[in-house]
Amino acid sequence: MEDKKISKTAVNDTTVIVKPFKTLDNNNAHEMVDIITAVQEEGYKMIIVDMSDLEFLSSAGVGSILGTIENSREAGGDIILCSVPDSINHILEVLDLTDYLTIRESKDMALNLAGTAN
């Protein structure tokens, strides 16, 4: 688990947690897109991106979420970011994304939101 850069854990039939480790940048952004696209196609509406272990998020990393988020929203779901470290939150602020993206402080809160949404 630890050596994986992005992990995927299904919570129930509609919710899945995707967790990138350390970095989400040019090197693994396309992998992130592949994972999110795959779970979307499998029918998961709510995708929680757990950023608790994330140390660095590049433009490409941000792009991997923006490039796939509309799919989920069109299907009545969403991509929820949770446990976003301050440094990464700063980047999202610079990019004016904090209002557009659904962000929750903790995983439980994200799960709670996913549950409510369902």
């Binding site: 040019n26 090197n27 396309h30 590049s58 490409a60």
Partner: protein, 713 residues
């Protein structure tokens, strides 16, 4: 560094300096640095462009981006489409083609431009609508050295608004700084695919292609070339890959003849050349190649100096060989037909002349007292006449016009009959140094054939085999049943079926290769006249085999022996059981003998009267019809060949008008013709060959008279 490059770099730098105070620009600089590092490390074109699109999405806070990339000319698809957000699986965008007009347009303005501000050329006017409909905001071409690699498009911002001018400028700067890296990645991708593509083409060339350097070292070989080497010298194939091999070692003289030497000499004198129809043996198999070579001229550092092409033409060569063999066979068959025709004509005349010689001795012997001193001489006349008649039968068989009584027969039985015959036993006694063996095959089915003729085949072959071994040896006759699709010799096409196979082999002097095809010709015999004395032994065999719808193979090696193999299609019918009850020879019925030759009439009348029949004669067809109209007879003995215009068939037609059920026997010195067959169709009359013996004709008459159809008189 050229002016253009300096100004380009300055423009990019100025753009970034302008935005350096902005945190977002720092992010862009960071993204650019990362893109460059990634592009340098992993030059996978498609992946890089995907990352670029994600970076742009993140950088400009937009969800939808796309790239349409031109593929190299040889690629399967003209373009590659990549996208994020709403542009994923967008069929309208996917269907956009980078036409030459569009290419010129993008090359002209080179930089990121709003879709609404593009001045579309006439031929690309539809693009405006498509791009607008899809929600594309800004497009930037990827141009390197005046070549359009593709276009990158961005959708509107999250707010639904267009990108600001400063964003477009940053977008442009980002793209312009990564274009050189994208271009190298593109060319690397192109080259990687191109070399694979060329290799693919080369490996799908049917001919073996070998490329050599000027000092004769192998530089490249294709799959077909590899297969050719493997076919002739399998040990070499591993070395071809591992070691530097020179031409002469590859085409080793032991397997490839000395053509490589000739070839090297040739290439020093000429730029191109060929050796056509190079035959190489691999064990018993022959392969044929056309070899071509040509020098390669050019400046490429990677070029080979000359290539050799080996075109495997074995199939064509074999087909040509087979065609020649078939042609020879056809000519042979035509020759046999012509000879047969000639022989058939002679046989007819001779048969008529032999009539009295065969018939009268029996009559004379009947009348001579048992102790008459001339009985012996008369017997000799009869024997000689019978032998002469046999020779004529050979001629007729050769002409393949002899009438065969085809019925289910068994080869084993016929061979056994011959092997047990006094003639064969005598031969074995006379030649004790020949070991004669018969190995009858088990479960050999019957064939549709004529026993006396097949007996003759067996006799001729065995006698020939004896004669081929003057110093003694081993003679083996065997039979078997085999399912065949083709003959071992493969020259003749046969119907796939079960065949009864007769093999006669000797360990004698063998037949020279050039003579094998001629041995069936009449009088071709290399030995003294055979036992039949006709010089027609094998010609007769040939005719009989053909009449039995059989095939043959001959295997012979001079000094080692010969094997004749004959294949007869089998029949499921059983042999007729022998009729054990001898029919009474004579009778008291009335017979009309119709023959235009006086002697023939006389002899028939004499023979038939001698066994009790009431015989009348008629010298032609008209007289016969006239006679029958006033004097009904039990049976008519009708000669087939009479005066032109009113032969046996015409006569018979008239006779059956008078009596539709008139019984008749057709006789002829000639073989069964179409006209004879016609008569038989009309009345199912038996046919008797001339010259006939008393026994034969009496049997035929009796069986006709005792037939199912009763006389109506």
């Amino acid at each position: 560094m050229d002016k253009l490059a300096v100004s380009h770099k300055e423009r990019v730098a100025a753009s970034f300096y302008k935005w350096l105070s902005d945190e977002k620009s720092l992010l862009a600089l960071d993204a650019l640095a990362k893109l460059n590092v990634q592009f340098a490390n992993k030059p996978e074109f498609g992946l890089l462009v995907r990352t670029l699109l994600l970076t742009l999405a993140g950088q400009f806070s937009i969800t939808s981006t796309f790239a349409i990339l031109r593929e190299p000319e040889f690629a399967k698809n003209k373009t590659v489409y990549l996208a994020t957000g709403r542009f994923v699986k967008n069929h309208q965008l996917e269907s956009l083609l980078l036409t030459s007009a569009l290419e010129r347009m993008f090359i002209d303005f080179r930089k990121a431009t709003r879709v609404s501000e593009i001045d579309y050329p006439e031929s690309c006017i539809s693009y405006r609508g498509i791009l607008n409909d899809c929600g594309v905001d800004v497009i930037c071409p990827l141009v390197q050295n005046d070549k359009l690699l593709g276009i990158i498009g961005l959708g509107k911002k999250l707010s639904g608004k267009s990108l600001q001018e400063k964003d477009i400028e940053l977008f442009n700067s980002l793209i312009q700084s990564v274009v050189p890296v994208i271009a190298s990645s593109y060319h690397f991708w192109e080259l990687t695919n191109l070399s694979g593509w060329y290799l693919d083409i080369l490996n799908h060339v049917k001919q073996g292609v070998f490329a050599f350097s000027c000092d004769n070292y192998l530089k490249k070989i294709n799959s077909a070339g590899f297969d050719i080497i493997k076919r002739h010298n399998p040990e070499l194939t591993d070395m071809l890959v591992t070691f530097n091999m020179v031409l002469e070692d590859i085409f080793d003289e032991r397997y490839f003849d000395d053509w490589a030497k000739r070839f090297i000499k040739g290439i020093t004198e000429n730029d191109t050349g060929s050796i056509e129809g190079l035959i190489l043996k691999n064990g018993d198999t022959e392969y044929a190649y056309n070899v071509y070579y040509c020098k390669i001229s050019g400046d490429s550092e990677f070029r080979a100096d000359f290539i050799i092409t080996l075109d495997d033409v074995t199939e064509r060569f074999q087909a040509e060989k087979q065609r020649r063999q078939l042609q020879e066979k056809l000519e042979q068959a035509e020759k046999m037909e012509a000879l047969g025709l000639l022989a058939g004509g002679v046989a007819h005349d001779l048969n008529n002349m032999l009539g009295p010689l065969v018939g009268y001795p029996e009559l004379i012997l009947m009348k001579l007292p048992e102790d008459s001193p001339i009985r012996k001489q008369v017997c000799k006349i009869a024997d000689s006449a019978r032998n002469a008649s046999n020779v004529i039968q050979d001629l007729l068989a050769l002409a393949r016009r002899g009438r065969y009584e085809m019925e289910p027969v068994n080869l084993n039985k016929i061979i056994t009959e011959y092997i047990e015959s006094p003639a064969h036993i005598k031969k074995c006694t006379d030649k004790p140094n020949v070991e004669c063996q018969f190995k009858p095959g088990k479960n050999v089915s019957n064939i549709q054939g004529s026993s006396p003729h097949l007996y003759k085949v067996v006799m001729n072959l065995i006698v020939n085999a004896f004669d081929a071994m003057p110093e003694g040896g081993r003679l083996t006759v065997s039979t078997s049943q085999e399912h065949l699709e083709e003959l071992s010799g493969g020259y003749t096409k046969i119907d796939e079926d079960d065949y009864a196979v007769l093999r006669v082999s000797d360990t004698g002097m063998g037949i020279e290769k050039q003579n094998i095809e001629r041995i069936f010709e009449p009088y071709f015999s290399k030995k003294k006249m055979g036992s039949s004395g006709s010089g027609l032994g094998l010609s007769v065999v040939y005719g009989i085999i053909k009449d039995h719808k059989g095939y043959y193979d001959i295997f012979s090696e001079p000094g080692e022996g010969t094997e004749f193999v004959f294949y007869f299609p089998v029949t499921k019918q059983a042999e007729k059981s022998a009729d054990s009850t001898e029919r009474p020879l004579g009778g008291a019925e009335s017979i009309l003998v119709v023959d235009d030759i006086g002697e023939q009439r006389e002899i028939a009348a004499d023979l038939l009267s001698s066994i009790g029949y009431k015989v009348s004669t008629a010298e032609n067809g008209h007289k016969a019809v006239e006679y029958i109209s006033g004097n009904p007879v039990d049976v008519v003995l009708l000669d087939m060949i009479m005066e032109p215009g009113f032969d046996g068939l015409d006569t018979y037609r008239e006779i059956i008008k008078l009596n539709p059920k008139q019984k008749a026997i057709v006789v002829s010195g000639f073989s069964a013709t179409e006209r004879v067959k016609e008569i038989q169709k009309m009345g199912a009359c038996p046919y008797v060959k001339k010259p006939f013996t008393l026994n034969t004709i009496a049997k035929a008459i009796r069986s006709e008279l005792d037939g199912k159809v009763s006389s109506t008189q």
